[in-house]
Amino acid sequence: MDENELVAASQGGSVAAFNQLVVAYQEAVYNVAYRVLGDREAAADATQEAFLSAYQSIKGFRGGSFRAWLFRIVTNACYDLLRTRKRRPAVSLEEVASNPSEAWSAPGEMESPDDYVLRRELNREIQAGLGRLPPEQRLAVVLCDVQGFSYQEIALITRSSVGTVKSRLSRGREHLRDYLLSHRELLSSGKRLTR
């Protein structure tokens, strides 16, 4: 069954069909949630909440891009969690941004221990830099550069214009680039992002 048929079956109440959509999108959804929230547990909560909410409201899906519709729900779930965290900061955003939880895969067979450590450091710095961006810019950067969404899709997901997406993306990238440049001693032998 293709995506449209799975969506139609899910609208008819088929959990099995919806679960096929979940399997197809869960990695992307979880990764977006993790990059936006910077915390594995919170990302898992947001992902679960998003899929549950999507299943409950899929009858209201009127066609178009299912992916954009699904990621709008994910975005809302992430914003809800961010707002909750802001109201009750058990862990401050600053702390999450500067010390993101470890979520990296084991070293590859061809990867030396030094490269593995360097990759982990780089990933940690990128995640920390993302955490310092305003949520709208962070979301635009994650959707475009990490997940490969087009400007039009991001505009659909965030319910904004393509011009707004361009602007948020440009500022977000600049901020992130500046953050990484300020921590360039951690980057790979100073080969990258050097002025």
């Binding site: 099995a16 869960q26 299943y55 990933n123 990128i126 950067v141 361009k166």
Partner: protein
């Protein structure tokens, strides 16, 4: 703000570099940015570092999933949900009280049954043993009517001949010695003709039957009134024409009626089942309360 105004005055294209990387500019804008980059080393450097940052983001490895996020199909609601029984606050105390009451009733029932089982044979054994050993009370101890009611130990071989003399002889002998079920039942079932009054008279401390059995065994519980014997004798003397008593009276020596026995056992069993079911429910309600 001042930086942006300054950049615009100097003709910098920093705001368009991000879109330029993604080919999101119009051909005219692209041409304009390219021309500027050729003349402005600062913007060219800006573009290079920005591209590197974007490349780093695109090279980020995917974060492994903590598990599957597939939804679980909701289970069908059972027809009778026991958990609903435990929700009210009064459920646990109510179950406790019901369990205690049913347990108490069960104990009462069982103790009555046990005491009846021990008491009735003792009360009934004495005369029957005496009868088996051929021991009959002397005329000093027992009135003549009682003596006449004693069952002889064994039927003699010439019973058939004695049957004819039965009306004038010992009243008990003819029906018992016939061996036929009908006359025997008549005689044995005659309430006052049983040796129980005799046994009651001879027993030093007659054990009264418990209350549940006393209702079913009126003649065996206590010394019968004096007026009870003559009618019994009269009935025996009248021979087979006397109306036969109900067969349940046969069970008098055992201390309970034959018809009441299954009912009594059924009550014990039912109460036992109810008690243990209530006990299990009480523990379940206790566990549910702890979980909450």
């Amino acid at each position: 703000m001042g930086r942006i105004i300054g950049e615009v005055r100097q003709g910098h294209k920093r705001d368009q570099l991000s879109a330029y990387i993604d080919n999101q500019l119009s051909p005219a804008e692209v041409e304009e940015v390219r021309r500027h980059l050729g003349q402005c080393p600062a913007c060219a450097e800006e573009l290079r570092t920005l591209r590197e940052a974007v490349m780093l983001l695109r090279e980020l490895p995917p974060v492994p999933l903590p598990g599957s996020f597939t939804l679980v199909e909701p289970a069908r609601k059972p027809l009778f949900d026991l958990r609903g029984l435990f929700r009210p606050r009064w459920a646990y105390p109510a179950l406790q009280y019901a369990t205690v009451i049913s347990g108490f009733l069960l104990v009462v029932l069982l103790s009555g049954d046990l005491s009846a089982q021990f008491a009735a044979p003792r009360a009934a054994m004495a005369p029957s043993r005496q009868a088996e050993q051929g021991f009959l009370p002397s005329s000093k101890d027992v009135p003549s009517e009682a003596r006449g009611l004693a069952v002889p130990p064994a039927p003699p071989p010439t019973l058939g001949a004695k049957e004819a003399e039965a009306p004038e002889g010992v009243p008990v002998a003819p029906p018992v010695t016939t061996g036929a079920p009908e006359p025997r039942s008549k005689v044995v079932s005659t309430p006052p003709a049983t040796p129980l009054p005799l046994a009651a008279a001879r027993a030093p401390t007659p054990i009264p039957l418990p209350s549940p059995w006393s209702a079913g065994v009126p003649a065996a519980t206590a010394t019968p009134p004096a007026s009870a014997t003559p009618p019994a004798l009269a009935r025996v003397e009248s021979g087979p024409t006397v109306a036969a008593p109900t067969p349940e009276v046969r069970a008098l020596p055992e201390g309970r009626s034959a018809l009441n026995l299954p009912l009594w056992r059924g009550m014990e069993l039912g109460l036992g089942v109810v008690f243990f079911a209530l006990l299990a429910l009480t523990f379940a309600a206790r566990g549910a309360g702890r979980k909450r």
